[in-house]
């Protein structure tokens, strides 16, 4: 098995660049319904922002759209030596009306920039949504989303992995 692994100390430099690419007024967090894309589907084809456009592959799956409002990620690492963690929206809690009805199954965090020459254009991350205790990457009290109801994003902690295998 081929692998790459960084030490936490080396990793601090890695995770800090999350600030560079997903810390903007252009960052959006989308709560989605339906089947999450595979890794291959996530990376191939249209640019990310085209995929969640109204006429895009994922356009009909959007339930809630949290638009970036200033700093998305709080500054620096937390947890002492356990470096590389970044938390989100601790200072920018957003109350948003849902634009779709359905069961939240996955989320997407990406940059909305539309310039194809921009590195930001393909910078995105995604994970699964579940209710508390489900063990999903994003947990909600209730995954049943209703159009017009208001939802707020409390906080999110991302710790990029140390180990990659292929």
């Amino acid at each position: 098995m081929s692998f790459f692994e960084s030490s936490p100390y080396a990793h601090a430099s890695v995770s800090s660049s999350l600030n560079s690419y997903l810390d903007h007024t252009n960052t959006v967090i989308l709560i989605m319904s339906g089947t999450p894309p595979t890794h291959s589907e996530f990376n191939s084809g249209d640019y990310i922002s085209s995929k969640y456009a109204s006429d895009g592959t994922w356009g009909s799956q959007i339930l809630v759209r949290f638009n970036g409002n200033g700093s998305v990620w709080s500054s620096g690492d937390i947890g002492g030596f356990v470096e590389g963690r970044h938390s989100a929206y601790t200072n920018n809690i957003i109350l948003t009306e849902a634009e779709g009805t359905g069961v939240a199954t996955w989320f997407l965090i990406c940059n909305t920039q539309s310039n194809p020459s921009s590195t930001y254009y393909r910078c995105a991350m995604m994970g699964e949504v579940g209710e508390y205790g489900d063990g999903k990457e994003l947990e909600m009290v209730d995954t049943n989303i209703i159009t017009g109801n208001k939802y707020q994003f409390g906080s999110l902690t991302i710790q990029p992995p140390y180990r990659f295998e292929w």
Partner: protein
Amino acid sequence: MAIFFSDQLAGEMFKTMRGSNVVWNEYNSQSVIRYYTGTPPTAHQFRVNGDSAYASQYVGGLSNFGVSYSNGKFWVNPPPSNIAITAQTTGVITWAISRSHQSRPVMGSVGGPYSTDMFKVNDVNVVAGEKFYYLGMELQLKGLV
């Protein structure tokens, strides 16, 4: 399922590994690749325990090179001047570390010339006193985690 990072974001996240006093430099006399046999520790354990803790697994290494970066891909550039390494032990090379900053090693698997491993040598089977050859260190991180 874990969090997916797009390939682009994964590459950009790791881009900062190449910079002054980070993990790799464009050129640094302290840049090293060290090859080992046996079961690898975690990169964190290696950093904490230090090189000496793995001396019995150490096969050999090289230094003095730079690491280039572009579009999510790292590679040694220019190649190290002396790619012939005399093995200090007999065994199968399985892992290696690289760094240009003493406290910030990264680790990867080692394979033959046509492998998909991060580090490539002419033959992972080495005999003490005989030479093996560095054939590259290349890393393109994909977003799947």
